[in-house]
């Protein structure tokens, strides 16, 4: 059924196409025929016009010639001037512009001589023997013999070098002209009209499309030989096969060829006209038949395609419909199957859902329970937090306060709601003892949040004051620590308390020590000075024994002073209130100074002291300064070196060295002596307060037992280490290391001395 439909479609559209083509072809030919006819008509009209025009011109010239002959008939003697005047009166330029000139030719003994001319330009032609030219001679002889107008053939070099022809009429002396004899006898001359052949050029109206030739044909054999051509427009070629008739063409418009005869005077002219295909038509007309043809073909094709398409679409629709109905059948079955399956699945899912619901309900119950537990725990935690005695402030990772406890509210005078959301630094401004605000970059909270360090400020540090809501301030001991979640800092906690009371106690203790030292020292000073005066014999002479006794008193008193000084230092160490003020210190110079002070004793005991200074293993004269408190270092050196000097017997050796190690970044100090050493059982007590080993007490009654304790405290407080090696009876070596960072600056209220 399909192929039948297709066949039908093709057949019908082809039929349509053919029909339309036939219509187009007929239209085409119809138009062509109409055009051809039109061309013919135009051609005929145009050629006729041309012929008439030429004929009129020739008649005109002949008429003029008769007029001039009349002049000669009327007057016997016409001279040159008279001729000219007459000619001028004719006003040839206006009336006959195509006439080149009128000439009068006289017959003189069978010679025809040009005597007069109307044209001023060709004066030189006067005297010219016209009969020397055969054509002219022939023409004038015919005129003479026939007593009629004669027209010549084409003369090449006639008027101003241009080709042309002449029209000649004879002039006789008498009127007896019956026979040729008579005529020949009585000829006087001729009047000739000189005409250029290019006058015919003006007749060309249609340019190349129309060409014509004027042939001088008197009935001879070949019409169209070259010498017979009087005038030819462009397009006229003289060839043997000159067309005499047109061929009828199939597609293009026909050419037009016509011949017409013109008789002028005694001569017969044949005018041969040739019109190009499409002569006389406008360009649109010329091709209109082609336009129609192409349009026609195009439309036929279009229409036939259209028809074909209609059928084709119809076919497609039919096909589609069949296919759809097939599919429809299939899907119907499939659908039923699916439906069954779906309903089964739904039933299953429903069961599942019911189970899940039960589980969820259980879960919710559990969660409710947990929630209750959690809120209980939270409440407890809250209670704990609230009741911490010290002030607690918690911030987030940016330092914004998120929580404060009750103690903080009470202490500062701010409510939670007023503080939470503010930055720690903003809510708790910190002032120094002069009342100046500590800048944000120095605040511990910022350092803690940035680095994760724990910072605990102690009682003994310089006073920092928090400001309350009412503007008053209080000193605080603060410990600031980061809140860590895994590796991340998520906030900070500051715990602080008001240490006004503690500070007062501290101050009181310091004052007590200060006062106590004063009270102890004053009587000692009294004793010292009076003994000095006695020894100076300010109260009179003294004897040897008195001097001895007085010296003992003096010594005892001096010992007391030492003890009091040492005790003072110890108390300051105990209180932790001594300050470390590091400055760049030349350690070697300091050690040298101390040794200098000991020189009297060294000399009297004849001891040898060697010093060594090294930097990274190389001996050098001095070391670069390191940050140390010179006062404290002096105490350290004094103690160690004095001990070495005291406990080394006469003629002994003392070596001390100062070494700088850039790798471990430490300063090493060593003092060794060849002295009495420290007994075994005393070694572990040597750094304790007031301890003196027995052998030391024997050697020197004057020690306080506090020196090494003070040295150890100073060294350890500075971040260093001290230890020793000793062999009783051989000697002792004390080792000391201090880090390069030097002593850490420590704020304290007192200096040791």
């Amino acid at each position: 059924m399909l192929s039948k439909l297709h066949f039908k479609a093709i057949f019908i559209s082809l039929g349509v196409f053919l029909f339309l083509i036939v219509c187009t072809a007929s239209g085409f030919y119809f138009i062509k025929r109409a055009l051809d006819q039109k061309v013919e008509a135009i051609f005929e009209a145009q050629t006729q016009v041309i012929i008439n025009d030429i004929h009129d011109n020739l008649s005109g010239y002949i008429h003029i010639l008769y007029g001039v002959r009349g002049l000669f008939s009327a007057c016997d003697d016409i001279n040159r001037n008279g001729f000219k005047i007459y000619a001028k009166s004719l006003d040839l330029k206006t009336s006959s512009p195509d006439l080149y000139s009128i000439r009068f030719v006289k017959v003189e003994d069978d010679h025809f001589i040009v005597k007069y001319t109307s044209e001023e330009e060709e004066e030189e032609v006067i005297g010219f023997e016209a009969s020397s030219d055969p054509i002219r001679k022939e023409t004038m002889e015919i005129a003479r013999d026939t007593n009629n107008v004669a027209i010549s053939r084409r003369i090449e070099n006639l008027a101003g070098g241009q080709p042309g022809f002449i029209i000649s009429i004879p002039i006789y002396s008498s009127s007896k002209l019956d026979t040729t004899e008579d005529r020949r006898k009585n000829i006087i001359g001729f009047v000739n009209a000189v005409v250029k052949t290019d006058i015919f050029q003006k007749n060309i109206a249609y340019g190349k499309d129309l060409s014509f030739g004027i042939f001088d044909f008197q009935g001879e054999e070949n019409k169209f030989s070259p010498e017979k051509l009087i005038f030819g427009s462009s397009g006229i070629t003289i060839s043997a096969g000159h067309k005499e008739y047109t061929e009828k063409k199939l597609f293009s418009l026909n050419e037009q060829i016509q011949e017409k005869t013109l008789t002028a005077a005694n001569r017969k002219w044949i005018l041969h006209f040739h019109g190009q295909s499409g002569f006389g038509l406008s360009p649109l007309e010329k091709y209109s038949h082609w336009i129609l043809l192409s349009l026609g073909i195009f439309l036929s094709l279009l229409f036939s395609f259209f028809v074909y398409n209609l059928y084709h679409t119809r076919i497609k629709i039919i096909l589609k419909a069949e296919k759809l109905s097939e599919e429809l059948h299939k899907t119907e079955e499939e659908k039923l199957e699916l439906l069954e399956k779906s309903s089964q699945r739904l039933a299953n899912q429903n069961e599942e859902l019911l189970k899940t619901k039960a589980a969820m309900t259980n879960l919710l119950e559990d969660m409710e329970e947990e929630k209750e537990n959690l809120s209980e725990t939270n409440a407890k935690n809250e209670a704990v937090f609230s009741s911490i005695g010290d002030c607690v402030v918690a911030t987030d990772e940016k330092g914004i306060i998120v929580k404060i406890n009750h103690a903080t509210e009470k202490k500062l005078g701010w409510l939670s709601s007023e503080i939470i959301g503010k930055h720690y630094i903003e809510a708790l401004p910190l002032l120094d003892e002069n009342g100046k605000l500590i800048p944000a970059e120095k605040r511990k909270i910022n350092i803690v949040l940035k680095t994760g360090q724990k910072i605990i400020t102690s009682l003994s540090s310089a006073a920092h004051y928090y400001m309350k809501k009412d503007g008053s301030k209080f000193p605080a001991a603060v410990s600031t620590t980061p809140i860590m979640l895994g590796e991340k800092i998520i906030g900070a906690i500051a715990v602080f308390r008001d240490i006004t009371h503690d500070k007062q106690i501290d101050l009181a203790k310091s004052e007590f020590v200060s006062l106590a030292s004063h009270q102890l020292r004053t009587p000692l000073s009294t004793i010292n000075w009076y003994v000095e005066m006695l020894l100076s014999e300010d109260a009179g002479e003294i004897n040897e024994e008195q001097e001895k006794f007085l010296k003992e008193i003096y010594r005892g008193s001096k010992r007391m002073v030492e003890l009091v000084n040492a005790l003072l230092n110890v108390s300051r160490l105990e209180l932790g209130t001594f300050s470390i003020e590091p400055e760049p210190t030349d350690m070697m110079a300091l050690a040298a100074e101390v040794i200098q002070e000991l020189l009297p004793q060294v000399k009297s005991k004849e001891l040898t002291i060697n010093s060594l200074c090294q930097k990274n293993g190389t001996t050098c004269p001095i070391l670069p300064p390191i940050n140390a408190d010179p006062k404290l270092m002096r105490i350290v050196f004094q103690n160690l070196l004095t001990n070495a000097v005291k406990y080394t017997p006469a003629k002994g050796n003392i070596n001390f060295s100062l070494k700088q190690d850039d790798k471990t970044k430490e300063l090493h100090f060593e003092v060794s002596d060849s002295g009495i050493g420290i007994p075994r059982e005393a070694q572990n007590k040597i750094f304790t307060k007031l301890f003196r080993a027995d052998n030391a007490r024997e050697t020197d009654a004057d020690g306080t037992g506090l020196g090494l304790y003070i040295v150890k405290s100073i060294v350890e407080e500075s971040g260093g280490k001290i230890w020793f090696e000793s062999i009783p009876g051989k000697g002792t070596t004390f080792y000391l290391t201090l880090p390069f960072s030097g002593m850490r600056k420590k704020e304290g209220s007192k200096k040791l001395n």
Binding site: S514, S517, H518, R521, T522, L524, S525, T526, N528, W529, Y530, E532, M533, S536, D538, V561, V564, N565, K750, K751, N753
Partner: protein, 128 residues
Amino acid sequence: MEQKQRVVLVIEDEQPLVDAIKIKLGKEGFDSITARTVNQALQYLEEKVKIDVVWLDHYLLGKEDGLDFVVAIKKNDSPWKNVPIFVVSNTATPEKIQSYLALGIKRYYAKSDHRLEDIIKEIKEFKE
């Protein structure tokens, strides 16, 4: 300067020490007048007593201490403004020493560290 004896104002509350100081000063060619309180010392100032040197202890009888005395005589209109002051005391707190030096005292001595005659010798040789 003049060949007259120079006068030292000794401000010290401990009597035995005052006596010792006076004896030693005398031996070195000084005259001395003593005061045990700041007010007593300032009394001399009001009476326009001429003095050349001040020997000052820190702790004294009465409320005022040595610092108060220095402040009082260093006032612009005081006739004793340019008198050299030597502080001789047993209290050695660095803050106090700094304060004294800041106020313009010439030297500080810790009693127990120095022999009496050494102190006096230095005062005697002290030249502006």
